[in-house]
């Protein structure tokens, strides 16, 4: 039989913490689900707000929650693959106007980047002048 080393214990401990973190997340999600009956905001977003408020209340992020959320956020891209694949189902709708869509995406990203950064730069300069 394999001997239990300290490294294995550490790994076990980390797995336990991640599971606990998932309990945190699912608890907030459940609360969000209940609240979304009252307010028509998507459950996950209410969960996000509840989770942030709990961190604000505790004044820190629990280690378990941090480990679980790191795991989720690092691998988040994989969750969108089914959506990307099902794009083939909607191709008829996109066929006529994909070029317009692409142009709109490009232009609006350009405009947003330019206006937001210029305005923010002005405001930062302004507040620095006030400080002096």
């Amino acid at each position: 039989m394999q001997k239990i080393t300290s490294k294995m214990m550490l790994k076990l401990k980390k797995t336990q913490l991640i599971l606990l973190g998932f309990c945190h997340i699912f608890l907030y999600l459940l609360l969000g689900q209940w609240l979304s009956i009252l307010i028509p905001i998507p459950a996950a977003i209410i969960g996000l707000v509840i989770c942030t408020s709990i961190c604000l209340f505790l004044k820190k992020v629990p280690v378990s929650l941090e480990l679980a959320s790191n795991l989720l956020l690092k691998n988040m891209a994989i969750l969108f693959i089914p959506y990307v694949v099902t794009i083939t189902l909607y191709w008829p709708e996109l066929k006529e106007s994909w070029l317009v869509c692409l142009a709109a995406l490009f232009l609006s990203t350009l405009v947003t980047l330019a206006i937001t950064s210029l305005l923010c730069d002005k405001l930062v300069d302004h507040s620095k002048d006030l400080d002096k």
């Binding site: 028509p40 707000v49 959320s69 693959i81 099902t86 709109a104 947003t112 980047l113 950064s117 730069d121």
Partner: protein, 242 residues
Amino acid sequence: MSTLLTPLLSPAMVLYLAINLFITWLVFRLSSNLYKTCQHLPLLQPFCQPLILSGLTLILLLTLLGIPTVDYQEKSQIIMMMLAPATVALAVPLYKNLSVLKQYQSTIILPLLLGAIISPCSALLLLWLFNVDSALLLSMVSKSITSPIAIDITKLLGGIPAIAVIFVIISGIIGAAIATPIFSILAIKHDISKGLSLGVASHAIGTSTAVQISSQCAAFSVLAMCLNGLFTTLIIVSFSLL
């Protein structure tokens, strides 16, 4: 929930789900490795986004094996189900960067709101001018919001989540690609403004560019990304209540 769990009862279905999950994971792993090896080719890299690469590979695989896309979609419910916890997990980066908001409250709120409004409105205006189908218009609203929230918003509006995700990814790639030249043309001095505009215009993919500029830039980018999502959701929900 019950409709999601009923197929799990049959053992053959469990096997299908497991195989589906494994193949999706494997394709994603391979394409993100390819993305990393492309790092020496800065021109090619944005187009090798792992998500697009693995999506194309899976589409090719499905057509070669003759599997209907609807079947794949049905069997990948378990992957899509994890999106809600991933949205909640965004709370951790949001909380960590909230101190930044307190410090610069007066300076960043206005550009944040302006960016959150301009970004969908300018795109919608262009689509509307060209008489584009309304389903596409509704999927365009969430184009610069981080994908898990974008999917929720699109469902709320009655758009098509699959198209919304594609739009989100594309605007992320465009933002990441054009940000550096734009900042040098406009002579943007502060990292605060760079991070903020990247976060508002191109969410997580923009944030990955902001990380390369500085850690302050990254903090503002993450903050802008999360607040943009929350803000847009609030606006849409309040409109739908009217």
